[in-house]
């Protein structure tokens, strides 16, 4: 798995603070937590990419999850899936948080509609959900148009919905805002005219950025 972490913190923090200098301090009481201005970007995070069979039925996958620790900026081995070391897990388009049936942590989450930069904190009236059943009743809803992505039956492409930010409560109870930027290797959605084979070979590689709470 290829993984690079890019820190855009300083530059973004500067722009951010110059635009809305008082946003974090004017009404701190209305937030459960406010987000740090540091942004980490994770690229090409593979989420169950190994095809075990391919026939007329299309690709079949092992159904395995890839785990990530937002707090430690690192991938977590699958052996540690039943621990509180991870905060978010991916398998295809399914996203889990570390809580209830998914893991032993205190995780949770919901999908916020709006721009990443304008989400400065977790509002007090937020309803933070947990994973009740996989995949149909998750904190981050699964399915085209339900949560973070739209899938087109015409182009066979998965595209993150612009203006959707995942608010994740980590296993330890901190908060993070996560924006899924792309679902394909290299962070580039294949051209609609590419063949299904080409599209399948490139899918299930997440590019996302996130900021933790202070």
């Amino acid at each position: 798995m290829k993984k690079t972490i890019l820190i855009l913190g300083i530059a973004t923090a500067f722009i951010f603070s110059s635009c809305e200098p008082n946003n974090n301090t004017t009404a701190p009481d209305s937030y459960i937590a406010t987000f740090n201005s540091r942004i980490d970007t994770v690229r090409d995070f593979a989420a169950d990419t190994a095809i075990i069979a391919f026939g007329a039925a299309g690709p079949q996958y092992a159904g395995k999850y890839s785990f990530y620790s937002l707090e430690n900026d690192s991938m977590v081995p699958r052996l540690d899936s039943n621990t509180t070391k991870w905060d978010i897990a991916f398998s295809g388009t399914i996203i889990l948080v570390n809580n209830t049936i998914s893991g032993p942590g205190n995780g949770g989450g919901f999908v916020y509609s709006g721009l990443y930069n304008s989400l400065t904190g977790v509002p007090k009236d937020s309803v933070i959900k947990t994973d009740v059943s996989v995949p149909n009743n998750c904190a981050i809803p699964w399915g085209s148009g339900n949560g973070w992505y739209n899938y087109s039956g015409q182009t066979y492409l998965v595209n993150p919905i612009p203006g959707r930010v995942l608010v994740i409560r980590t296993a330890s109870g901190k908060y993070a805002k996560v924006e899924i930027m792309n679902y394909y290797i290299g962070g580039v959605t294949p051209d609609a005219s590419e063949t299904l084979n080409e599209k399948v070979a490139k899918q299930r590689y997440y590019t996302f950025r996130y900021s933790l709470s202070n």
Binding site: N150, L196, N197
Partner: protein, 708 residues
């Protein structure tokens, strides 16, 4: 071949100079033609209050058109769309599901996923095609939401017989080709017609056999397949005059298609070869009896039966045991009476019909289980002519359906002749499309792709309740409660337009239109199984509008040369999407990855609509010779959302705009023999992704022999 091209251009542009002007002949305007589709009674085109176009036999023959698609694509404002289930016609920005196709006033059936493939309909030996735009459900009921296309067969019984042969060829891969070229895509047409009158019985028979190496490209694979297609159409028309006032007519038409499509698909190296075989059979039987009681009252009783079957089979070379079979059978029966009353200034039409529509399919729960809907329809229309200048038409139709909600379709149309030069017309009407059998009874589970299911709305409730009792339903979505009552889709259409006739040799037609569509049916998730698989069904959820204008100009430059041009502008929107954009709920992602709010000006609307469409046609005609050049333009259209916001904005996938150029020329050699040559798609325009079924440049020759 370049010589032929320059020859045609020579004829078109040079002959113009030497042609003589004779204004007395020019007086015969197309406005004197008789049209039946606009009012269901014979009316002069110059008195019709709704946008109406007539394509006559001569135009069809000169354009070298064989299938309904060929000639419709040369009309401004008609957009031929291939959605993977055949080529349908988009009218006033509404999909082909919403245009009714009639044969002598009776509906053709056998739609696949809403599309009636226009290639199924041969147009050899027809008198004319009438096109009425705007909601016409007040006369024709379901499907006549965007408009009506009525194909009127040639029913003249003058003793003649005619044989026509046509041979054409093209090669998608090469620029210009020779007929001897092995890889040439050929097409061939043989037709025969004969008519005679024996005592009081008129007989007209015609037959057409057509073969084409059609080209088809699998979407997003660029795999080109030559698809041999055979199409056969036979038609018999009988007319018996019982008395001076009573006559019996019988129209029988049978059409048969056989399509082969063989291709190999490679899935990550695993090649599977499949052979596709498709047969479509269409039978229409239409007897009618008409009695003229007196100069004021005329009545006709019409019986109509049509039977359609479409069978597709797919054989896999690697897995000979697993044949995929898709069968669809539809029967439609109708009894209808229409009576016309002619008073001084009023023309009243009343009618009533009883219709049975039935279908069975392997796409439903069981291929042998017959699904049936019965429709009782009542309609009336009054045309009032208080003065020579003013015509007011009011109509109303009521359709009572056994399977779903009934529909009321009113219409009001006004035409006012300001003077000999300008006339204006305006109409408002309501159109509807009843849910089709697929939307009510589809029973499809895709075991190949994860096991999701799509059920028709009637079956969905039953199936989900059964699954609930077995404890197999995990959750119902908020859309589930909307399932209980699938309603027809409704539209309200307004058309405002007119004609300007300048000195009889320059005519302008214009029309502004707006269609507001409610209750549009869409596929939505209604439940999920405990296994995680989703269940989808059909629900009335969408609202949309289409609006635009159409402009047409025709000019007789001189006795031989005429010029016409047309243009259509279309603007469409899904009203809920537009509302979400206005409420600041929709974002877009630019190519550099920046996410920002979407502006209303960036919104595209409905997919597959070319905003601008146009055509230019130049025709040279003298007694013995004709030549035409036709240019068709379509601006780019948007297809799929690729930035994830679920709607189309100008960051999304779009095709390129294109131009098509067709030429044809013919000569009457003597009383018996005529010859014709033509080039379709002269520039050999191709677009594998977005116009997969557009035929490459095709050159054809045809000969016609007429016996009197």
């Amino acid at each position: 071949m370049r010589k032929i091209l320059s020859f045609l251009l020579f004829i078109i542009f040079v002959k113009q100079g030497i042609a003589q002007k004779d204004s007395s002949v020019l007086k015969q305007s197309t406005l004197d033609e008789i049209v039946v589709t606009s009012t269901r009674t014979e009316t002069k085109l110059s008195n019709v209050a709704v946008p109406t176009t007539i394509i006559n036999q001569k135009t069809i023959q000169q354009a070298g058109s064989l299938r309904l698609k060929d000639i419709l694509q040369e009309q401004a404002g008609l957009n031929i769309i291939n959605n993977g289930f055949g080529q349908g016609v988009q009218m006033q920005g509404l999909s082909s599901d919403y245009t009714i196709i009639l044969l002598n006033g009776q509906p053709l059936v056998g739609r696949t996923s809403g599309v009636l493939d226009l290639n199924r309909i041969g147009i050899n030996n027809i008198k004319k095609i009438e096109i009425v735009k705007g909601p016409s459900s007040s006369l024709y009921g379901s499907e006549a939401m965007a408009g009506v296309i009525n194909i009127i067969t040639d029913n003249n019984f003058k003793s003649t017989s005619e044989i026509g042969i046509r041979y054409g060829f093209g090669n998608a891969e090469k620029n210009w080709i020779l007929p001897a070229d092995k890889a040439a895509a050929k097409n061939f047409d043989f037709n025969f017609s004969g008519a005679t009158q024996i005592n009081k019985t008129g007989i007209h028979f015609s037959s057409d056999a057509y073969y084409v190496d059609a080209v088809s490209i699998r979407p997003y694979s660029s795999q080109l397949a030559v698809q041999p297609i055979w199409r056969l159409t036979n038609q018999l028309i009988l007319n018996q005059k019982l008395s001076a006032r009573t006559s019996i007519d019988l129209n029988i038409r049978n059409s048969y298609d056989y399509l082969k499509q063989d291709f190999a698909v490679s899935n990550l190296g695993a090649v599977s070869t499949s052979y596709g075989r498709e047969t479509n059979n269409d039978l229409n039987i239409y007897p009618s009896i008409t009695h003229v009681f007196n100069s004021k009252i005329k009545s006709s009783l019409k019986l109509y039966a049509t039977k359609y079957s479409g069978i597709q089979k797919l054989y896999f070379v690697e897995k000979p045991d697993s044949t995929y079979s898709d069968e669809f059978y539809q029967n439609y029966y109708r009894v209808e009476n229409q009576t016309d009353f002619n008073f001084k200034k009023n023309r009243l039409t009343v009618g009533a019909g009883y219709n049975i529509d039935e279908a069975r399919s392997s796409r439903y729960d069981n291929v042998s289980s017959n699904k049936q809907n019965t429709i009782v329809s009542l309609f009336t229309q009054n045309e009032w002519n208080p003065s020579e200048k003013l015509t007011v038409i009011a109509g109303l139709r009521y359709d009572n359906n056994k399977l779903f909600a009934s529909a009321f379709s009113p219409k009001l149309a006004i035409r006012y002749k300001i003077n000999d030069i300008i006339s204006l017309n305006a109409s408002i009407g309501r159109g509807f499309k009843a849910p089709d059998f697929r939307q009510l009874f589809l029973n499809f589970t895709n075991n190949a792709a994860g096991g999701y299911s799509v059920f028709g709305s009637i079956d969905a409730i039953k199936i989900i309740q059964q699954l609930q009792q077995l404890g197999l339903i995990n959750q119902l979505t908020s859309d589930y409660i909307k399932l209980s009552s699938l309603k027809p889709e409704f539209s309200t259409g307004i058309n405002i337009g007119g004609n300007v006739n300048l000195h009889n040799n320059l005519t302008f037609n214009f029309n502004l239109f707006r269609n507001d569509i409610e209750n549009l049916i869409d596929v939505k998730q209604v439940a999920s199984r405990t296994s995680g698989t989703q269940i989808f069904s059909y629900i009335n959820v969408k609202r949309a509008y289409t609006q635009g204008f159409e402009l047409e100009a025709t000019s007789k430059i001189n006795q031989q040369l005429s010029f016409s041009t047309g243009y259509q502008l279309i603007i469409t929107a899904d009203k809920d999407e537009l509302e979400n954009i206005r409420n600041g709920k929709v974002y877009t992602r630019d190519l550099d990855g920046t996410v920002r709010l979407l502006k209303e000006s960036e919104y595209i609307g409905l997919s597959n609509r070319s905003k601008h469409m146009g055509n230019v046609k130049l025709t040279y005609n003298n007694n013995k010779f004709f030549a035409t050049g036709r240019l068709i333009y379509k601006s780019h259209w948007y297809l799929n959302d690729i930035n994830g916001n679920g709607l189309l904005d100008n960051n999304d996938e779009s095709s390129k705009g294109f131009l098509l150029l067709n030429f044809s020329a013919g000569k009457q050699i003597n009383d018996f023999l005529s010859v014709k040559i033509g080039i379709d798609n002269a520039t050999n325009y191709q677009d594998k992704n977005y116009l997969p079924s557009l035929q490459c440049r095709t050159i054809y020759f045809s000969t016609n022999i007429k016996f009197k």
